[in-house]
């Protein structure tokens, strides 16, 4: 099971790197979204995917799955959510102020504006 998930995570990270190397701002942001999904999947898998009950205390359950990666996962999810929201806003501002979403055009003489 772990091997399958690791392959899936690898494909996702590969796809995200491809997207992040493209020219459109929005594709780069989609790339970071997929990247964080791949990384989170890895984090979960690295804790082990053995069979066990959900980590909620219950007398009838003998063995629980590892709760620590799940806690870390939740933290990372909210952080990446905040980052994605911030980046989308920055992308909108870049589009409005500079009039382009092509990263090739995001270069030039410094300080021509203010």
């Amino acid at each position: 099971m772990e091997i399958l998930i690791i392959i899936v995570a690898g494909i996702m990270i590969g796809a995200s790197v491809y997207l992040m190397l493209s020219k459109s701002l929005i594709r780069i942001i989609i790339g970071t979204g997929i990247l964080s999904h791949g990384i989170l999947l890895m984090l979960l898998t690295m804790g082990g995917l053995k069979r066990g009950g959900i980590p909620v205390l219950d007398d009838s359950v003998q063995q629980y799955s590892d709760p620590l990666p799940q806690a870390m996962l939740l933290t990372v999810i909210v952080i990446t959510f905040a980052l994605t929201a911030y980046m989308l806003v920055i992308a909108i501002r870049v589009y409005r102020e500079l009039g382009t979403d092509n990263v090739e055009e995001l270069k030039g003489v410094p300080r021509e504006d203010d």
Partner: protein
């Protein structure tokens, strides 16, 4: 053991939260933030003394014992970094009062300033790598907002790149944490140190070590991951550029020093003397070459950050007590001097209205204090004997020769020379030469801006003339961090 060591994290956090309510009144914001920045210096000075007396102070949050709960660890290195952070933060804040525009001030400049300090102090104090990641993100999110604060076209363009690169770096950090968790089953640094030492699987652990080096190298602007730094640090106003130049890369360097002395010391021949030293050499050389080629005040200084980060990492890479002590001394020296130089660049920009050094000239006549402060800071950066730069480079290069690392030591010497050349280039263009200023610029007074810089320049002189006690202190720190059992025993209480 002592609840006091959470103060450097919780205090700026509360102040930052309070400041949000006063966003409309710049006067109230200035009073609150000014007083609390000075209080921070007092608190962190007290903590540095506490750490010096007790060696390692730990705080188990929520009374959960070490490997199970999150702990904060205050050893001498962390206490020193927190102390310097608060001094720099206070300096840059008072400089910001005189330079920052009302528009920036209104849009939550001060709250985010304090949240940045929360992240930096947290990263220095934590004893848990996942917690380190969280504090990195606190610091980076605050820096994303500050770096784009003001919203000029240049800032928008460059900060987008800064944000993307750091998001990718953070993703790799999570990956590295996932790997090391799968190998060792813990994220507490002391516990990691113990388990990595007894697990005896050098192959996979070395891979993870290199992964961590890439992550922290991207934050700390090491070769080949430094390309984002000069442009991003050019955008924000001088007070912020100074704070970023002084602090942010050093958090990455601190994390490298912490991880590679505490956890990954099993194969120093490959990781330290191989990868770290090579990266340090290229970082120093390419950074200083970039600086020599530029003709812009702030950009020259930004490239110098890169080359000087190389010295610190070189000290770690040589991995003897003398070299590590030199690296710690270098961090202290560099943080003061680099911040002072950026602030002086900001004061010069305030007078002349430009950062292009070819457009300036002859400031020595109208601004003697500014000129000589810059002169002291510049030759200190290049490492001229009575000042701090000399006594911090000397032990690193000496240790390099003692260990037979000829190439890297020669590079370090050459880089010192090139640093001097580029600093004198600034001095020649900006302060000497014919006076290109207008009448109004000649009569401009910047005394209120020079006051916050004065302590930093003074520290550079003090660090040079009081080299012996300070070097003894950094040698003490180096011996403490090169013996990981101190840290492990203090945290795990065996």
């Amino acid at each position: 053991m002592s609840n006091l060591i959470i103060l450097p994290i919780i205090f700026p956090f509360i102040i930052g939260a309070v400041l949000i309510f006063f966003s409309k009144s710049s006067r109230a914001q200035r009073i609150i933030s000014g007083i609390s920045a000075l209080l921070m210096v007092g608190i962190s000075a007290y903590l540095a003394v506490l750490a010096f007396q007790q060696d390692t102070v730990i705080l188990e949050s929520g009374d959960w014992v070490a490997p199970y709960g999150i702990i904060l660890v205050l050893d001498n290195l962390a206490a020193l970094m927190v102390l310097i952070t608060s001094i720099l933060a206070a300096s840059c804040l008072f400089f910001a009062f005189g330079t920052i525009s009302k528009k920036r001030e209104k849009y939550y400049f001060y709250p985010f300033y304090f949240f940045l300090i929360v992240g930096v102090n947290g990263a220095f104090l934590t004893g848990d790598i996942f917690n380190l990641f969280v504090f990195f993100e606190v610091m980076l999110l605050a820096s994303y907002v500050l770096i784009v604060n003001g919203g000029s076209k240049y800032q928008l363009r460059e900060s987008f790149k800064y944000v993307i690169l750091n998001i990718f770096g953070s993703a790799l950090f999570i990956m590295a944490i996932a790997w090391i968790y799968s190998v060792t089953g813990t994220v507490n640094m002391a516990h990691l140190s113990e388990r990595v030492a007894e697990i005896n699987q050098p192959g996979i652990v070395t891979v993870i070590a290199v992964m961590f080096f890439i992550v922290f190298g991207a934050k700390g602007a090491l070769f080949p991951l430094y390309f984002w730094l000069p442009k991003s640090y050019y955008g924000p106003p001088a007070a912020l550029a100074a704070l970023f130049g002084g602090l942010l890369t050093k958090v990455g360097i601190y994390a490298i020093i912490r991880m590679f002395t505490l956890v990954f010391y099993h194969e120093p021949l490959f990781t330290h003397k191989g990868i770290i030293v090579t990266a340090a050499g290229f970082t120093m050389l390419l950074g200083v070459l970039g600086a020599v080629s530029q003709f812009d005040f702030k950009r020259i200084l930004s490239y110098h950050i890169i080359s000087q980060v190389g010295y610190m990492v070189m000290g770690l890479g040589i991995f003897t007590p003398l070299a590590v002590a030199g690296a710690i001394y270098y961090i202290v020296h560099h943080m003061f001097v680099k911040t002072a130089l950026f602030l002086l660049a900001g004061a010069t920009e305030k007078i002349t209205g430009t950062t292009d050094i070819k457009a300036m000239g002859g400031l020595i006549k109208s601004q003697p204090v500014l000129t000589w402060s810059f002169f002291i800071a510049a030759i200190s950066l290049a490492g001229i004997p009575p000042l701090s730069g000399f006594f911090s480079k000397f032990p690193i290069i000496l240790a390099g020769f003692q260990e037979g690392q000829w190439v890297i030591s020669a590079v370090a010497l050459l880089v010192g020379l090139l640093t001097l050349i580029s600093m004198m280039k600034i001095f020649g263009y900006v302060f000497w030469g014919e006076n290109k200023l207008t009448e109004r610029q000649n009569n401009m007074s910047v005394t209120n801006l020079l006051i916050p810089i004065a302590p930093l320049v003074a520290f550079s002189i003090i660090l040079g003339f009081a080299a012996e006690p300070i070097f003894t202190y950094s040698l003490h720190i180096a011996e403490q961090i090169l013996e990981p059992s101190n840290y492990v025993n203090a945290v795990l209480k065996e």
